[in-house]
């Protein structure tokens, strides 16, 4: 019996190890490729280990090609759009979760938000392009901030709403009874209790903003407003694919969201699973 259980356990571990390797290999190969030289990339048989840890591809991406500016743009757009999305999501979620809103209104708002999420970006990219041009925001970061906010608002609304539903109304009401204004109750009671929710939403929405390509490509024209993904895809040229620099770009692109995810993975998991069991 014990022997059978041990065999099962070993088999399970081996299976998990195999699955882990399958998932980890692309990341490993990305990192390895980023350190290869052009002659290694041209080798008839590709190697799994670079001859040396050559940082030339990183230097080229960050400095020679000047993609640090694009990284800065990505950070600015990602942070701004995330903060805006959370602010607007709070403004929408607060009344439908904390005030006596009708079920119909609540359902309408949530369904409307959901419908925005199901809108394929390609369906609206041309109208957005026209609007952005008309209002004079073409090739400017605020254009991306506005569009990213709109597209990630549904996610923020649905995640926040799940959290806010879990916070008992009585806590806020106690503050009101003690003489706090509605704003003070929100600021000093609800907001601190929503920390986990805010952190989860920040990380997930930022990750989506960080990786967005289509709008960044269409709504920008020069490095003043282009984001990092737009730069990285430019490394596939007509006659050459600059694999090592693309890989270096990929590694750089992964670092920030991955670090955030590792730091706050517990909150993110909570954020993603909150409210999935029951509907309030």
């Amino acid at each position: 019996m014990n022997r059978g259980r041990r065999s099962t356990r070993i088999a399970t571990y081996l299976l998990l190890l195999g699955i882990g390797l399958i998932f980890a290999f692309p990341l490993y190969y990305l990192i390895v490729t980023s350190f290869k030289t052009k002659s290694e990339l041209f080798a008839a048989v590709p190697s799994l280990v670079p001859q040396a840890l050559n940082p030339a591809a990183y230097e080229s991406v960050l400095f020679t090609r000047g993609y640090t500016g694009l990284l800065f743009n990505s950070i600015v757009v990602g942070l701004s759009a995330t903060i805006l999305a959370i602010a607007v999501a709070f403004a929408i979620c607060y009344p439908i979760t904390r005030l006596p809103a009708s079920r119909r209104l609540r359902a309408f708002v949530l369904n409307w938000a959901l419908s925005l999420r199901f809108l394929p970006p390609i369906a609206v990219v041309i109208p957005y392009f026209t609007i952005i041009r008309t209002v004079g925001l073409y090739n400017q970061l605020p254009a991306l901030i506005v569009v990213y906010t709109i597209f990630n608002l549904p996610l923020a609304i649905w995640m926040l709403r799940g959290f806010l539903d879990e916070i008992p109304l009585e806590i806020e009401q106690a503050a009101l009874v003690d003489g706090a204004s509605r704003w003070q109750a929100f600021r000093h009671v609800l907001l601190p209790l929503s920390r986990t929710a805010i952190l989860a939403v920040v990380i997930i929405v930022f990750a989506f903003d960080w990786a967005e390509f289509l709008f960044a490509f269409i709504l920008t024209a020069t490095p003043q407003a282009q984001t990092f993904p737009v730069g990285v895809q430019g490394l596939v040229t007509q006659f050459e694919i600059i694999w090592n620099e693309m890989a270096a770009g990929g590694v750089i692109a992964i670092v920030i969201p991955l670090t955030l995810m590792l730091i706050a993975r517990r909150h993110v998991m909570t954020g993603l699973t909150f409210g999935v069991i029951r509907e309030k």
């Binding site: 030289t37 052009k38 002659s39 990339l41 041209f42 080798a43 008839a44 800065f72 743009n73 950070i75 600015v76 757009v77 942070l79 701004s80 903060i83 392009f129 026209t130 041009r133 209002v135 004079g136 925001l137 073409y138 090739n139 400017q140 970061l141 605020p142 901030i145 000093h188 907001l191 601190p192 920390r195 805010i198 952190l199 490509f217 269409i218 024209a221 020069t222 490095p223 003043q224 407003a225 895809q233 430019g234 490394l235 596939v236 040229t237 007509q238 006659f239 050459e240 694919i241």
Partner: protein, 451 residues
């Protein structure tokens, strides 16, 4: 509250960053007002008199290497900053289309592949360079000027364009003509005809090499590889009246030559091979021959960092086919000035400076591919660029350009998809010809080219 402070800090950083970036943006909003017009005039005059900036949309890759090298020189000579904004081939086209449709003034100069000229010429997106003081130079082959002229000075003209006056809308800055390469260490004599190309390929295949490396990836790549074969074998996509001829006997024979004869000597996966893969096979010494663009030579095939075939590869014009001629294909990259640019004269001044013989020589020394005959035949440049004299010869031949229709992208997609399907075994060469012809005929009819 720590969270509150963190959020406030993040907000401040984001807003400050956004404000800084917006302020730095050269493409600030351009309302059609007197103030904007005055600002535009000031910018144009600043660029013209020195101290201004020209923004150039360029293709990413070896084609703009020389242009990037010239930027600091132009700044030193004229005081004008060149901001080169790169995009990959496909993305550059879509970016230019959307920019022109929006009448956006972000770009002062744009790099264009020559098959894009019909689209931009038909749409009236570009300024007449003749009116800005750019005229023909006898040291540059006529075909280089012709390919930048719209409507086209020879060959079939789209029905909607026949009444338009001819204007120079683009000037070649990358003298790109498709050539042929082969391993001269294996067969000292160059193949003079496609019959010899095939015979040599079969022999080298039997010896363990890839005989003919087919660039067969769907759409543009396979069409670029195929058109010189098609034309040299006597076929064509259209006749002089835009009637589709890709399914006539000569064209069918050319398609079967590619998908049957040459494929039998080719690498194992020709249907997914693009230029980068072809160059890798050639540079590694695993292939014998193929067509080649100048842009592939110094960055891959003969790149000292990677090549194993240094001094073993020769470059020649496209071999003769059954038509009795070897017909190369142009892929010239041109510079044009968008009508919406607010720095028209400054942009034209840059083109003129770039075409000067001394600039062209410096350009060639920095991996640029010039079009000036005296530079292409300059003995001091041929050691580093052994294909330059062949390119000069190919430009004078002259090579063919792809059919001058604004529907070319659609035609190329149809033909390239059907050829790729035949290469990957999904249909026969005859079926590829018939299927492509049916779709192209319907397209050209729907666009008013034929009855």
């Amino acid at each position: 509250m720590r969270l509150g402070r963190l959020m406030a800090l993040l907000s401040a950083v984001a807003l400050i960053g956004s404000a800084c970036s917006s302020a730095a943006s050269p493409a600030a909003s351009t309302p059609a007002s007197a103030a904007a017009s005055a600002a535009a005039s000031a910018a144009a005059s600043a660029a013209a008199s020195g101290g201004g900036k020209l923004t150039i949309a360029a293709v990413q890759g070896g084609e703009d290497a020389g242009l990037k090298a010239l930027a600091p020189m132009y700044k030193a000579a004229k005081g004008v900053d060149l901001q080169i904004v790169e995009a990959p081939y496909d993305n550059l086209y879509s970016k230019l289309v959307s920019t022109f449709q929006a009448n956006d003034s972000t770009y002062d100069l744009v790099m264009m592949d020559d098959p894009w000229m019909p689209k931009f010429g038909t749409d009236g997106s570009l300024s007449d360079l003749g009116a800005l003081g750019i005229s023909r130079d006898p040291d540059i082959a006529d075909v280089v000027w012709d390919v930048g002229t719209w409507p086209p000075p020879r060959g079939p003209v789209p029905p909607s364009e026949k009444a338009k006056p001819k204007q120079l809308l683009g000037v070649t800055i990358v003298g790109n003509v498709e050539m042929f390469m082969y391993r001269k260490d294996l067969t000292p004599n160059a193949p003079a005809s496609y019959d010899e190309v095939l015979a040599n390929a079969k022999a080298q295949k039997a010896a363990g090499l890839t005989g003919y490396i087919i660039r067969g990836k769907a759409t543009n790549p396979v069409v670029a590889d195929f058109l010189p074969i098609l034309w040299s074998q006597g076929g064509d996509v259209f006749d002089e009246n835009w009637n589709t001829t890709i399914d006539n006997d000569a064209s069918k024979a050319a398609i079967n030559f590619l998908v049957n004869d040459l494929k039998a000597t080719a690498q194992s996966d020709p249907g997914s091979t693009d230029a980068a893969d072809r160059d890798k096979i050639m540079a590694n010494g695993q292939g014998y021959e193929s067509s080649v663009w100048p842009g592939e030579i110094n960055t891959a095939v003969l790149d000292p960092a990677v090549t194993k075939v240094k001094d073993k590869v020769a470059f020649i014009p496209i071999p003769k086919g059954k038509s009795g001629k070897g017909v190369g294909m142009m892929g010239n990259w041109m510079l044009g000035i968008p009508k919406a640019s607010k720095n028209q004269q400054a942009a034209a001044d840059f083109i003129k400076w770039m075409l000067q013989a001394d600039t062209q020589k410096t350009y060639a020394q920095n991996n640029g591919i010039p079009s000036r005959t005296s530079v292409l035949t300059d003995a001091s440049l041929t050691a580093a660029n052994p294909y330059f004299p062949v390119l000069a010869e190919a430009l004078k031949s002259p090579p063919n350009w792809r059919p001058r229709t604004d529907q070319w992208n659609a035609v190329e997609t149809i033909l390239g998809t059907e050829l790729n399907k035949a290469l990957t075994g999904g249909q026969t060469g005859d079926q590829a010809a018939t299927n492509a012809a049916t779709q192209i005929r319907a397209l050209m009819k729907s666009k008013g080219y034929t009855q």
